[in-house]
Amino acid sequence: MPGIIEMFFNLDIMRQSLPLLLGGLWMTLKLCAVVIGLGLVGGLFLSLAATSPRRWLRWPAMAVIDLMRALPPLVLLIFIYSGLPFAGVEMPAFAAVAIAFLLNNSAYYAEVYRAGLQSLPRGQWEAARATGLSMPQTLRHVIIPQAVRNVLPDLLSNTVEVVKLTSLASVVSLAELLYQANMARSVTYNSSPLVLAAAIYLVLLWPMVRLVSRYQRKLSI
């Protein structure tokens, strides 16, 4: 099996492509920071709207969440990246990717938060309000901390999904980890850069995946 080593685990080629891949990794991390950071906040607001007793707030929020959950992120990305320019809206690849994944992920985070918010008994609200806390204070000091703690494993597992999702940015030629690896593959006619990229993703995400599994088991017992 010299072929496999040569074509998939070629250390020379891996070493040569490493700087390129690290550059890509940096882009992946920047993308993750934007999408995860803003997604966590956007999702929280979306989930608050989706659990609001006010109909005019709840229905549009639910519609956005369902729409985003039904549309594959790649379709959304292609729509923003190659569809919107027809309407005169042009933007750099990074912005298109960030917007597409942000929309997608806010909806997913919102679903997670929503489960957390709904896991709290109404008495928590009533008790907080009865002690004189205002609505925003109740949210900040009573509701949100408990809701978030209840769904921490799901937030974590969704965050793993975001990091994996950023690999789709390679389709619109954003120079992130997978794109760089695939470039290196097509230049060297050798799959080792892709294997190296896979290894980098594993190093990044395996601990998080383990943690999610550990968490889920602890909660269920």
């Binding site: 790649l74 569809g83 594993l202």
Partner: protein, 223 residues
Amino acid sequence: MNRFLDTFFAPQVFARYLPEVLAAIWTTLWLGVVVIVAGIAIGLMLACLRAARKWWLTLPIVIFADMLRALPPLVLILLIYFGLPALGITLSGPLVLILVLTAVLAAFAEEIFWAGLTALPRGQWEAGRATGLGFVQVLIFIALPQAVRMGIPSLVNRSLAITKMTALGSVIGVKEILAVSSSAQAVSGSATPLTLAAIAYLVIFLPAVVLARWLERRFTWKV
């Protein structure tokens, strides 16, 4: 407003590409069904094997499940589609897509079923064994039905998320909805085919999302 309609809802472009997109919907649908059925079946099997609690079964299953949950599916798709031909193994685009997505769903399904199995109180196992049932019988008649029931909401959500990934097939030339409408967009020079694609996905997945929500509510109330 008119310009907007012309760009995203041009009627003649719509009519011109509708048949192609409809055909692509079938491709997306059958790919999705194959992936869901095979992925869940394999995941269930793996969880059962893991229930035997033999380290030489557990170890490979855990490694498989961890790796496939940690790796972006697109990395695997590119690796298999572009890498394997170097070894003289050439697989078609749809086959690569099915293999990768099935494996990913199997990994997630295994974890979901396993979480359900470990959530059962030990007493259930002991009571089952005490009434004279064998290990396999307890597993099939007592443990699994409850584990499956507990896992249904997460399983439906996960299956949905992975079926949506059939759109990744567009990268390796599978003629599913996104691929067909992307090339239609390039040929026609209009964004309308992309609108068509978005509508097609909504038609397929919006009912599924609503169903998932209903299942979630139903099963969390009862258990």
